[in-house]
Protein backbone atom coordinates (compact mmCIF):
# COMPACT_ATOMS: atom_id res chain seq x y z
CA UNK A 1 0.00 0.00 0.00
CA UNK A 2 1.34 3.36 -0.96
CA UNK A 3 2.21 5.91 1.68
CA UNK A 4 0.52 9.27 2.07
CA UNK A 5 2.47 12.49 1.85
CA UNK A 6 1.25 15.23 4.18
CA UNK A 7 2.75 18.70 4.04
CA UNK A 8 2.30 20.90 7.09
CA UNK A 9 2.40 24.58 6.21
CA UNK A 10 0.98 27.88 7.40
CA UNK A 11 2.15 31.02 5.66
CA UNK A 12 2.80 32.76 8.94
CA UNK A 13 5.91 31.85 10.88
CA UNK A 14 5.89 30.64 14.44
CA UNK A 15 2.37 29.23 14.52
CA UNK A 16 3.44 25.68 15.30
CA UNK A 17 4.18 23.84 12.05
CA UNK A 18 7.31 22.15 13.37
CA UNK A 19 5.65 21.28 16.67
CA UNK A 20 2.70 19.87 14.77
CA UNK A 21 4.89 17.84 12.41
CA UNK A 22 6.90 16.33 15.26
CA UNK A 23 3.83 15.53 17.34
CA UNK A 24 1.73 14.11 14.52
CA UNK A 25 4.70 11.99 13.45
CA UNK A 26 5.13 10.66 16.97
CA UNK A 27 1.39 10.02 17.36
CA UNK A 28 1.16 8.11 14.08
CA UNK A 29 4.27 6.05 14.82
CA UNK A 30 3.00 5.26 18.31
CA UNK A 31 0.00 3.61 16.72
CA UNK A 32 2.26 1.36 14.69
CA UNK A 33 2.58 3.28 11.41
CA UNK A 34 5.90 3.68 9.59
CA UNK A 35 6.58 7.41 9.45
CA UNK A 36 9.23 9.66 7.90
CA UNK A 37 9.38 13.34 8.84
CA UNK A 38 11.22 15.65 6.45
CA UNK A 39 12.37 19.12 7.45
CA UNK A 40 12.01 21.29 4.35
CA UNK A 41 13.12 24.51 6.07
CA UNK A 42 16.57 24.61 4.48
CA UNK A 43 18.80 27.08 6.25
CA UNK A 44 16.61 27.37 9.36
CA UNK A 45 16.23 23.79 10.42
CA UNK A 46 14.55 22.99 13.72
CA UNK A 47 12.53 19.81 13.33
CA UNK A 48 15.62 17.93 14.50
CA UNK A 49 15.78 19.98 17.70
CA UNK A 50 12.11 19.53 18.51
CA UNK A 51 12.43 15.78 18.03
CA UNK A 52 15.60 15.64 20.10
CA UNK A 53 17.71 14.26 17.27
CA UNK A 54 20.06 17.14 16.52
CA UNK A 55 23.10 15.29 17.78
CA UNK A 56 22.57 12.48 15.34
CA UNK A 57 22.72 14.40 12.09
CA UNK A 58 25.34 13.17 9.67
CA UNK A 59 23.67 13.77 6.33
CA UNK A 60 20.78 16.03 5.44
CA UNK A 61 18.20 16.64 2.73
CA UNK A 62 20.55 18.68 0.54
CA UNK A 63 23.20 15.93 0.72
CA UNK A 64 20.61 13.54 -0.66
CA UNK A 65 19.45 15.89 -3.41
CA UNK A 66 23.02 16.64 -4.46
CA UNK A 67 23.97 12.98 -4.47
CA UNK A 68 26.52 12.98 -1.67
CA UNK A 69 24.67 10.22 0.12
CA UNK A 70 21.86 7.78 -0.38
CA UNK A 71 18.40 8.65 0.90
CA UNK A 72 18.51 5.95 3.59
CA UNK A 73 21.80 7.28 4.93
CA UNK A 74 20.21 10.62 5.74
CA UNK A 75 17.31 9.05 7.64
CA UNK A 76 17.75 9.26 11.41
CA UNK A 77 15.83 6.75 13.47
CA UNK A 78 13.94 8.24 16.40
CA UNK A 79 15.31 7.61 19.90
CA UNK A 80 12.09 6.20 21.24
CA UNK A 81 9.97 4.88 18.37
CA UNK A 82 11.48 2.36 16.05
CA UNK A 83 9.35 3.17 13.04
CA UNK A 84 9.80 6.93 13.09
CA UNK A 85 12.51 8.57 10.98
CA UNK A 86 13.72 12.09 10.36
CA UNK A 87 15.41 13.56 7.31
CA UNK A 88 16.83 16.84 8.58
CA UNK A 89 17.26 20.03 6.58
CA UNK A 90 20.65 21.56 5.86
CA UNK A 91 21.60 24.46 8.06
CA UNK A 92 24.22 26.04 5.84
CA UNK A 93 22.35 26.31 2.55
CA UNK A 94 19.07 27.92 1.50
CA UNK A 95 15.80 27.01 -0.20
CA UNK A 96 17.27 27.23 -3.71
CA UNK A 97 19.36 24.14 -3.04
CA UNK A 98 16.28 21.99 -3.52
CA UNK A 99 13.65 22.08 -6.26
CA UNK A 100 10.02 20.92 -6.29
CA UNK A 101 11.01 18.11 -8.64
CA UNK A 102 13.70 16.97 -6.20
CA UNK A 103 11.09 16.75 -3.47
CA UNK A 104 8.73 14.75 -5.64
CA UNK A 105 11.44 12.31 -6.65
CA UNK A 106 12.66 11.85 -3.11
CA UNK A 107 9.25 11.28 -1.59
CA UNK A 108 8.17 8.92 -4.37
CA UNK A 109 11.10 6.80 -3.37
CA UNK A 110 9.73 6.61 0.18
CA UNK A 111 6.10 5.89 -0.63
CA UNK A 112 6.51 2.13 -0.99
CA UNK A 113 8.06 1.55 2.39
CA UNK A 114 6.42 4.12 4.63
CA UNK A 115 2.82 4.78 5.56
CA UNK A 116 3.18 8.49 6.23
CA UNK A 117 5.65 11.03 4.95
CA UNK A 118 5.28 14.32 6.82
CA UNK A 119 6.92 17.41 5.36
CA UNK A 120 7.56 20.38 7.65
CA UNK A 121 7.20 23.40 5.36
CA UNK A 122 9.01 26.67 6.00
CA UNK A 123 7.01 29.86 6.51
CA UNK A 124 6.34 32.10 3.53
CA UNK A 125 5.07 31.56 0.02
CA UNK A 126 8.28 31.35 -1.94
CA UNK A 127 10.52 28.53 -3.07
CA UNK A 128 10.64 26.71 0.26
CA UNK A 129 6.86 26.56 0.44
CA UNK A 130 6.61 25.43 -3.17
CA UNK A 131 9.20 22.73 -2.55
CA UNK A 132 7.24 21.46 0.42
CA UNK A 133 3.82 21.28 -1.23
CA UNK A 134 5.00 19.86 -4.55
CA UNK A 135 4.71 16.19 -3.52
CA UNK A 136 1.78 16.61 -1.12
CA UNK A 137 -1.29 14.38 -1.18
CA UNK A 138 -2.75 16.26 1.76
CA UNK A 139 -1.89 19.81 2.82
CA UNK A 140 -2.39 20.68 6.49
CA UNK A 141 -2.53 24.36 7.35
CA UNK A 142 -1.62 25.40 10.87
CA UNK A 143 -2.89 28.70 12.16
CA UNK A 144 -3.28 30.59 15.41
CA UNK A 145 -6.52 32.27 16.50
CA UNK A 146 -5.10 35.65 15.61
CA UNK A 147 -5.96 37.92 12.70
CA UNK A 148 -2.62 38.06 10.95
CA UNK A 149 -2.18 34.30 11.15
CA UNK A 150 -5.65 33.79 9.71
CA UNK A 151 -4.98 36.28 6.94
CA UNK A 152 -1.83 34.39 5.96
CA UNK A 153 -3.61 31.06 6.19
CA UNK A 154 -6.27 32.35 3.80
CA UNK A 155 -3.55 33.35 1.36
CA UNK A 156 -1.95 29.95 1.60
CA UNK A 157 -5.25 28.18 1.02
CA UNK A 158 -5.74 30.31 -2.09
CA UNK A 159 -2.29 29.35 -3.33
CA UNK A 160 -2.73 25.65 -2.76
CA UNK A 161 -6.15 25.73 -4.40
CA UNK A 162 -4.50 27.37 -7.39
CA UNK A 163 -1.92 24.56 -7.43
CA UNK A 164 -4.77 22.05 -7.26
CA UNK A 165 -3.54 20.72 -3.95
CA UNK A 166 -6.54 22.10 -2.16
CA UNK A 167 -8.59 22.52 -0.19
CA UNK A 168 -6.40 21.65 2.73
CA UNK A 169 -7.16 20.78 6.35
CA UNK A 170 -6.88 23.15 9.27
CA UNK A 171 -5.19 22.83 12.63
CA UNK A 172 -6.05 25.66 14.98
CA UNK A 173 -3.10 25.86 17.34
CA UNK A 174 -2.51 27.71 20.63
CA UNK A 175 -6.12 28.36 21.50
CA UNK A 176 -6.81 29.94 24.90
CA UNK A 177 -10.39 29.04 25.80
CA UNK A 178 -10.74 31.71 28.51
CA UNK A 179 -9.81 34.45 26.06
CA UNK A 180 -12.23 33.09 23.50
CA UNK A 181 -14.98 33.12 26.11
CA UNK A 182 -14.21 36.73 27.00
CA UNK A 183 -14.35 37.63 23.34
CA UNK A 184 -10.68 38.62 23.34
CA UNK A 185 -9.62 35.87 20.99
CA UNK A 186 -11.03 34.56 17.74
CA UNK A 187 -12.99 31.37 18.20
CA UNK A 188 -13.08 28.33 15.98
CA UNK A 189 -16.32 29.44 14.34
CA UNK A 190 -14.95 32.90 13.50
CA UNK A 191 -11.92 31.35 11.85
CA UNK A 192 -13.80 28.69 9.91
CA UNK A 193 -16.10 31.46 8.74
CA UNK A 194 -13.20 33.01 6.86
CA UNK A 195 -11.11 29.99 5.93
CA UNK A 196 -13.96 27.59 5.17
CA UNK A 197 -11.95 24.39 5.10
CA UNK A 198 -12.17 21.15 7.01
CA UNK A 199 -11.07 21.33 10.65
CA UNK A 200 -8.51 18.67 11.45
CA UNK A 201 -7.65 19.69 14.98
CA UNK A 202 -7.87 22.31 17.74
CA UNK A 203 -4.83 22.43 20.01
CA UNK A 204 -4.93 24.41 23.25
CA UNK A 205 -2.14 26.71 24.37
CA UNK A 206 -0.01 24.57 26.61
CA UNK A 207 3.08 25.70 28.49
CA UNK A 208 4.23 22.11 28.48
CA UNK A 209 4.96 22.39 24.77
CA UNK A 210 7.80 24.82 25.47
CA UNK A 211 9.31 22.32 27.88
CA UNK A 212 8.81 19.50 25.38
CA UNK A 213 10.60 21.39 22.63
CA UNK A 214 13.51 22.24 24.89
CA UNK A 215 13.84 18.63 25.93
CA UNK A 216 13.34 17.22 22.46
CA UNK A 217 10.41 15.13 23.73
CA UNK A 218 7.28 15.84 21.66
CA UNK A 219 4.21 16.37 23.83
CA UNK A 220 2.31 13.59 22.07
CA UNK A 221 4.47 11.16 24.03
CA UNK A 222 3.14 12.52 27.30
CA UNK A 223 -0.27 11.09 28.23
CA UNK A 224 -0.92 14.03 30.57
CA UNK A 225 -0.30 16.76 28.02
CA UNK A 226 -3.44 18.43 26.67
CA UNK A 227 -1.68 19.61 23.55
CA UNK A 228 -0.29 16.12 23.15
CA UNK A 229 -3.79 14.66 23.31
CA UNK A 230 -4.99 17.14 20.70
CA UNK A 231 -2.19 16.10 18.35
CA UNK A 232 -2.94 12.44 18.95
CA UNK A 233 -6.53 13.20 17.95
CA UNK A 234 -5.23 14.85 14.77
CA UNK A 235 -3.32 11.67 13.94
CA UNK A 236 -6.45 9.60 14.45
CA UNK A 237 -8.49 11.89 12.21
CA UNK A 238 -5.81 11.71 9.53
CA UNK A 239 -6.21 7.96 9.60
CA UNK A 240 -9.90 8.37 8.95
CA UNK A 241 -11.26 8.00 12.45
CA UNK A 242 -14.14 10.21 13.57
CA UNK A 243 -12.90 11.86 16.72
CA UNK A 244 -15.17 14.40 18.40
CA UNK A 245 -13.60 17.74 19.24
CA UNK A 246 -12.93 18.26 22.91
CA UNK A 247 -14.64 21.16 24.57
CA UNK A 248 -11.66 23.25 25.59
CA UNK A 249 -13.00 24.42 28.90
CA UNK A 250 -10.35 25.68 31.24
CA UNK A 251 -9.17 23.31 33.91
CA UNK A 252 -11.02 25.35 36.53
CA UNK A 253 -14.42 24.75 35.06
CA UNK A 254 -17.51 25.08 37.21
CA UNK A 255 -16.41 22.84 40.06
CA UNK A 256 -12.90 24.18 40.03
CA UNK A 257 -14.16 27.68 40.62
CA UNK A 258 -16.46 26.58 43.43
CA UNK A 259 -13.53 24.77 45.03
CA UNK A 260 -11.44 27.91 44.87
CA UNK A 261 -14.19 29.97 46.49
CA UNK A 262 -14.51 27.76 49.56
CA UNK A 263 -10.85 26.98 50.01
CA UNK A 264 -8.93 29.19 52.42
CA UNK A 265 -7.22 31.90 50.43
CA UNK A 266 -9.76 31.54 47.61
CA UNK A 267 -11.63 34.32 45.85
CA UNK A 268 -14.58 34.54 48.25
Amino acid sequence: MSGTIVTITSGKGGVGKTTATANIGVALASEGARVVCIDADIGLRNLDVVMGLENRIVYDLVDVVEGRCKLRQAMIKDKRLSELYLIPAAQTRDKTAVSPQDMIRLTDDLRDEYDWILIDSPAGIERGFRNAIAPADIVVIVTNPEVSAVRDADRIIGLIEAEEKGPGQLILNRVKPEMVKRGDMLGTEDILDVLAINLLGVVPEDDGVVVSSNQGMPAALDPRSRAGKAFRDVARRLRGEEVPFEALESRDGFFGRIARLVRPGGDA
Binding site: R151, D152, D154, R155, I157, G158, L159, E161, V194, A196
Partner: protein, 226 residues
Protein backbone atom coordinates in the same frame (compact mmCIF):
# COMPACT_ATOMS: atom_id res chain seq x y z
CA UNK B 1 -9.21 37.77 -66.52
CA UNK B 2 -8.61 38.05 -62.84
CA UNK B 3 -10.62 35.78 -60.63
CA UNK B 4 -12.20 37.62 -57.78
CA UNK B 5 -12.27 35.75 -54.55
CA UNK B 6 -14.32 37.42 -51.89
CA UNK B 7 -13.56 37.24 -48.21
CA UNK B 8 -16.09 37.98 -45.52
CA UNK B 9 -15.64 37.98 -41.79
CA UNK B 10 -18.46 36.68 -39.62
CA UNK B 11 -19.05 35.40 -36.13
CA UNK B 12 -18.17 31.96 -37.46
CA UNK B 13 -14.78 33.01 -38.78
CA UNK B 14 -13.92 33.81 -42.37
CA UNK B 15 -15.95 32.86 -45.44
CA UNK B 16 -14.14 32.75 -48.75
CA UNK B 17 -16.47 32.75 -51.73
CA UNK B 18 -15.40 31.82 -55.23
CA UNK B 19 -17.02 32.53 -58.61
CA UNK B 20 -17.85 29.97 -61.27
CA UNK B 21 -15.12 28.93 -63.65
CA UNK B 22 -12.40 26.41 -64.11
CA UNK B 23 -11.64 24.96 -60.70
CA UNK B 24 -7.86 24.68 -61.22
CA UNK B 25 -7.51 28.41 -61.78
CA UNK B 26 -9.91 29.23 -58.99
CA UNK B 27 -8.06 27.04 -56.52
CA UNK B 28 -4.87 28.83 -57.42
CA UNK B 29 -6.55 32.20 -57.00
CA UNK B 30 -7.83 31.25 -53.59
CA UNK B 31 -4.40 30.19 -52.40
CA UNK B 32 -2.85 33.28 -53.91
CA UNK B 33 -5.36 35.49 -52.16
CA UNK B 34 -4.57 33.81 -48.90
CA UNK B 35 -0.83 34.03 -49.42
CA UNK B 36 -1.14 37.73 -50.24
CA UNK B 37 -2.66 38.23 -46.82
CA UNK B 38 -0.87 35.51 -44.90
CA UNK B 39 -0.91 37.32 -41.55
CA UNK B 40 -4.61 38.05 -41.80
CA UNK B 41 -5.44 34.41 -42.42
CA UNK B 42 -3.10 32.81 -39.94
CA UNK B 43 -4.93 30.65 -37.35
CA UNK B 44 -8.26 31.57 -38.98
CA UNK B 45 -11.31 29.36 -39.20
CA UNK B 46 -12.29 29.22 -42.84
CA UNK B 47 -15.54 28.29 -44.54
CA UNK B 48 -15.34 27.90 -48.30
CA UNK B 49 -18.32 28.88 -50.41
CA UNK B 50 -17.99 27.06 -53.73
CA UNK B 51 -21.56 27.20 -55.06
CA UNK B 52 -21.96 24.81 -57.97
CA UNK B 53 -18.39 23.56 -58.22
CA UNK B 54 -18.23 19.79 -58.14
CA UNK B 55 -15.39 18.78 -55.90
CA UNK B 56 -14.53 15.26 -54.80
CA UNK B 57 -13.08 14.11 -51.50
CA UNK B 58 -9.54 14.01 -52.82
CA UNK B 59 -9.75 17.58 -53.99
CA UNK B 60 -11.34 18.89 -50.80
CA UNK B 61 -8.95 16.88 -48.64
CA UNK B 62 -5.98 18.20 -50.58
CA UNK B 63 -7.25 21.74 -50.26
CA UNK B 64 -7.77 21.32 -46.53
CA UNK B 65 -4.18 20.12 -46.18
CA UNK B 66 -2.89 23.06 -48.21
CA UNK B 67 -4.76 25.41 -45.93
CA UNK B 68 -3.56 23.58 -42.82
CA UNK B 69 0.00 24.15 -44.00
CA UNK B 70 -0.79 27.83 -43.80
CA UNK B 71 -2.21 27.44 -40.27
CA UNK B 72 -5.75 27.83 -41.55
CA UNK B 73 -8.53 25.52 -40.37
CA UNK B 74 -11.02 24.64 -43.08
CA UNK B 75 -14.11 23.67 -41.18
CA UNK B 76 -17.00 24.06 -43.64
CA UNK B 77 -17.68 23.85 -47.33
CA UNK B 78 -20.84 25.52 -48.59
CA UNK B 79 -22.09 24.25 -51.89
CA UNK B 80 -25.21 23.51 -53.87
CA UNK B 81 -23.60 20.51 -55.58
CA UNK B 82 -24.54 17.10 -54.16
CA UNK B 83 -21.11 15.74 -55.11
CA UNK B 84 -19.32 18.42 -53.17
CA UNK B 85 -21.68 18.14 -50.21
CA UNK B 86 -21.20 14.41 -50.01
CA UNK B 87 -17.44 14.70 -50.25
CA UNK B 88 -17.38 17.39 -47.57
CA UNK B 89 -19.52 15.28 -45.26
CA UNK B 90 -17.17 12.32 -45.75
CA UNK B 91 -14.28 14.50 -44.67
CA UNK B 92 -16.12 15.65 -41.59
CA UNK B 93 -16.56 19.18 -42.85
CA UNK B 94 -19.66 21.15 -41.99
CA UNK B 95 -22.12 21.83 -44.74
CA UNK B 96 -23.59 25.00 -43.40
CA UNK B 97 -22.79 27.78 -41.06
CA UNK B 98 -24.25 27.12 -37.65
CA UNK B 99 -26.89 29.59 -36.58
CA UNK B 100 -25.16 31.95 -34.20
CA UNK B 101 -26.56 32.62 -30.77
CA UNK B 102 -27.78 36.16 -30.59
CA UNK B 103 -24.69 38.04 -29.58
CA UNK B 104 -24.89 40.48 -26.74
CA UNK B 105 -24.69 43.46 -29.09
CA UNK B 106 -27.85 42.33 -30.88
CA UNK B 107 -30.05 42.43 -27.82
CA UNK B 108 -31.48 45.84 -27.24
CA UNK B 109 -30.58 47.12 -23.82
CA UNK B 110 -32.70 49.47 -21.83
CA UNK B 111 -29.79 51.25 -20.25
CA UNK B 112 -26.85 51.51 -22.55
CA UNK B 113 -23.87 51.83 -20.21
CA UNK B 114 -20.31 51.33 -21.29
CA UNK B 115 -19.21 47.85 -20.37
CA UNK B 116 -22.42 45.93 -19.83
CA UNK B 117 -20.34 42.82 -19.84
CA UNK B 118 -20.22 41.33 -16.36
CA UNK B 119 -17.86 38.69 -15.11
CA UNK B 120 -19.28 36.12 -12.72
CA UNK B 121 -17.00 34.44 -10.20
CA UNK B 122 -18.71 31.62 -8.38
CA UNK B 123 -16.29 31.04 -5.53
CA UNK B 124 -14.87 32.77 -2.50
CA UNK B 125 -12.01 35.15 -3.16
CA UNK B 126 -9.21 34.55 -0.72
CA UNK B 127 -6.52 36.86 0.57
CA UNK B 128 -4.20 37.73 -2.28
CA UNK B 129 -6.79 37.10 -5.01
CA UNK B 130 -7.14 40.14 -7.23
CA UNK B 131 -10.03 40.48 -9.64
CA UNK B 132 -9.95 43.28 -12.18
CA UNK B 133 -12.56 43.82 -14.83
CA UNK B 134 -13.58 46.80 -16.96
CA UNK B 135 -17.25 45.94 -16.62
CA UNK B 136 -19.44 44.74 -13.79
CA UNK B 137 -18.38 42.07 -11.35
CA UNK B 138 -20.62 39.55 -9.62
CA UNK B 139 -19.24 37.22 -6.97
CA UNK B 140 -21.18 34.30 -5.56
CA UNK B 141 -19.16 33.64 -2.44
CA UNK B 142 -17.24 35.69 0.10
CA UNK B 143 -14.52 38.22 -0.52
CA UNK B 144 -12.03 37.64 2.29
CA UNK B 145 -9.83 40.31 3.81
CA UNK B 146 -6.77 40.70 1.63
CA UNK B 147 -8.71 40.08 -1.58
CA UNK B 148 -9.30 42.94 -4.01
CA UNK B 149 -11.91 43.69 -6.63
CA UNK B 150 -11.45 46.54 -9.09
CA UNK B 151 -14.31 47.02 -11.52
CA UNK B 152 -15.16 49.65 -14.07
CA UNK B 153 -18.81 49.01 -13.30
CA UNK B 154 -20.76 47.76 -10.32
CA UNK B 155 -19.68 45.16 -7.84
CA UNK B 156 -22.21 42.73 -6.47
CA UNK B 157 -21.21 40.19 -3.86
CA UNK B 158 -23.65 37.47 -2.91
CA UNK B 159 -21.81 36.81 0.32
CA UNK B 160 -19.60 38.69 2.76
CA UNK B 161 -17.56 41.50 1.31
CA UNK B 162 -14.56 41.97 3.61
CA UNK B 163 -11.75 42.81 1.23
CA UNK B 164 -10.93 45.93 -0.76
CA UNK B 165 -13.44 46.94 -3.41
CA UNK B 166 -13.31 49.64 -6.02
CA UNK B 167 -16.36 50.11 -8.21
CA UNK B 168 -16.59 52.66 -11.00
CA UNK B 169 -12.81 52.47 -11.17
CA UNK B 170 -12.85 54.34 -14.46
CA UNK B 171 -14.59 57.29 -12.87
CA UNK B 172 -18.22 56.24 -13.02
CA UNK B 173 -19.87 57.85 -10.02
CA UNK B 174 -23.10 56.01 -10.68
CA UNK B 175 -21.49 52.70 -9.84
CA UNK B 176 -22.70 50.82 -6.79
CA UNK B 177 -21.40 48.13 -4.48
CA UNK B 178 -23.87 45.59 -3.14
CA UNK B 179 -23.24 42.82 -0.67
CA UNK B 180 -25.18 40.60 1.67
CA UNK B 181 -22.72 41.66 4.37
CA UNK B 182 -21.01 44.90 3.41
CA UNK B 183 -17.87 45.08 5.56
CA UNK B 184 -14.98 45.92 3.26
CA UNK B 185 -11.64 46.97 4.67
CA UNK B 186 -11.77 49.76 2.10
CA UNK B 187 -14.56 50.78 -0.22
CA UNK B 188 -14.12 53.04 -3.21
CA UNK B 189 -16.53 54.26 -5.82
CA UNK B 190 -14.93 56.29 -8.58
CA UNK B 191 -12.69 58.74 -6.73
CA UNK B 192 -14.39 58.46 -3.34
CA UNK B 193 -13.03 56.28 -0.61
CA UNK B 194 -14.39 55.12 2.72
CA UNK B 195 -13.64 52.62 5.43
CA UNK B 196 -16.27 50.46 6.98
CA UNK B 197 -17.94 51.62 10.15
CA UNK B 198 -18.08 49.29 13.15
CA UNK B 199 -19.64 45.94 12.27
CA UNK B 200 -23.27 45.79 13.22
CA UNK B 201 -24.34 42.75 15.16
CA UNK B 202 -26.85 41.88 12.52
CA UNK B 203 -25.43 42.51 9.10
CA UNK B 204 -27.99 42.73 6.33
CA UNK B 205 -27.80 43.31 2.62
CA UNK B 206 -26.62 46.80 1.76
CA UNK B 207 -25.96 48.88 -1.27
CA UNK B 208 -23.27 51.55 -1.29
CA UNK B 209 -23.40 54.46 -3.68
CA UNK B 210 -22.50 58.09 -4.03
CA UNK B 211 -25.28 60.46 -3.12
CA UNK B 212 -24.76 64.22 -3.02
CA UNK B 213 -21.03 63.76 -3.17
CA UNK B 214 -20.92 61.33 -0.23
CA UNK B 215 -20.34 57.61 -0.09
CA UNK B 216 -23.29 56.16 1.76
CA UNK B 217 -24.65 52.69 2.33
CA UNK B 218 -28.35 51.98 2.42
CA UNK B 219 -29.78 48.80 3.77
CA UNK B 220 -31.75 46.92 1.23
CA UNK B 221 -35.02 47.90 2.86
CA UNK B 222 -34.14 51.60 2.98
CA UNK B 223 -32.92 51.66 -0.58
CA UNK B 224 -36.25 50.33 -1.76
CA UNK B 225 -38.10 53.23 -0.21
CA UNK B 226 -36.18 55.84 -2.09
Amino acid sequence: MTISVSIKGTGEGLIVSVPAGEWGKIRQAVLQTIDDRAEFFRNARLALQVDEHELGAAELGGLRDELARRDIGLWAVLSSSPTTKSAAADLGLALQLEPTEASVEDLPLDTPIDGEEAVLVARTLRSGNVLRHPGHVVVIGDVNPGAEITAGGNVIVWGRLRGVVHAGAGGDEEAVVCALDLAPTQLRIAGHIAVSPERRKDPGPEIARIREGQLIADTWKDSRQR
